[in-house]
């Protein structure tokens, strides 16, 4: 499921009413919807690529240094790993965060209509893994990734 078809599906749902309201304030952007339903398939996807496609559709992914990913190289605690994504290019529409080796890689997805291209959260990691940020800006997809080491266990009481 990608952004564009989902907008068409929402014709007869409550979300449409919200879309109309948002549209009238001039904040509505074609191609994606702020009030879209929770992307169930994307969160259920078990592989990184599958999860990325479920959120963003088939477009090419370009690694970009304009996507600044701030994560620790060694996480202090695997259940509270802090991530910040700063997208420095113009027209940032959405940011999504993935942990490649998590059972379901998609952690969170943020869509913007007025807010800056920035998203931060705390997340759980099951094991050492690449953390991947995907940014949609100006209709194109950009990525950045970093490996985060996680030590599970130890003597924590």
């Amino acid at each position: 499921m990608t952004h564009l078809p989902r907008r068409l599906f929402l014709k007869n749902t409550l979300a449409t009413a919200v879309l109309v309201g948002v549209g009238s304030t001039g904040l509505f952007r074609p191609g994606w919807a702020l009030a879209a339903e929770w992307p169930k398939d994307a969160f259920a996807a078990k592989q990184l690529d599958e999860a990325i496609r479920a959120v963003f559709g088939p477009g090419p992914l370009s690694p970009s240094t304009a996507v600044k990913l701030r994560v620790p190289t060694q996480a202090e605690n695997s259940a509270q790993v802090q991530i910040q994504v700063l997208a420095e290019m113009p027209d940032v529409e959405a940011i999504a965060v993935f942990v490649e080796k998590n059972p379901s890689p998609l952690v969170a997805h943020a869509s913007f209509a007025g807010a800056q291209g920035f998203f931060s959260a705390r997340m759980k990691m099951g094991q050492t893994s690449d953390v991947v940020a995907v940014v949609k800006a100006g209709g194109k997809l950009y990525t950045a990734k970093q490996n985060v080491k996680v030590t599970v266990g130890g003597c924590g009481g």
Binding site: L34, A36, A110, A115, S120, A121
Partner: protein, 106 residues
């Protein structure tokens, strides 16, 4: 109990406002064994939608999953926020519960 379970902090510096929201929520994945019954798992219970609005206009919408940490902290940045502007966060979870919080920019 919006006051307790959804807290918002804002900080404006150099024309950019950081908005941080901290929600009291278990964010259960549904995989954790029930401490009281090893044969059962604690049911999944996590925030799915968390939206931000500025003076009544929705400016960011997030989809969250169970990999987001317990007591989730979500942060966004805004420009052009003036003192007195109202920032509101609303959220809903997979068990049909919801909450909200409000803050006034300083």
């Amino acid at each position: 109990m919006a006051d307790i379970d959804t807290k918002i902090r804002t900080k404006t510096q150099g024309g950019v406002t950081d908005v941080l929201v901290l929600v009291s929520h278990p964010m259960e994945t549904g995989q954790r064994p029930d401490p009281k019954d090893k044969n059962k798992k604690v049911p999944a219970h996590y925030i799915q939608k968390l939206n931000f609005s500025l003076n009544g206009k929705e400016i960011a919408s997030t989809d969250l999953g169970p990999a987001v940490s317990k007591d989730p902290l979500i942060g966004i940045k805004l420009k052009g926020v003036k003192p007195g502007d109202k920032i509101k966060v609303t959220w809903s979870d997979n068990q049909g519960q919801s909450g909200s919080g409000e803050a006034t920019a300083g």
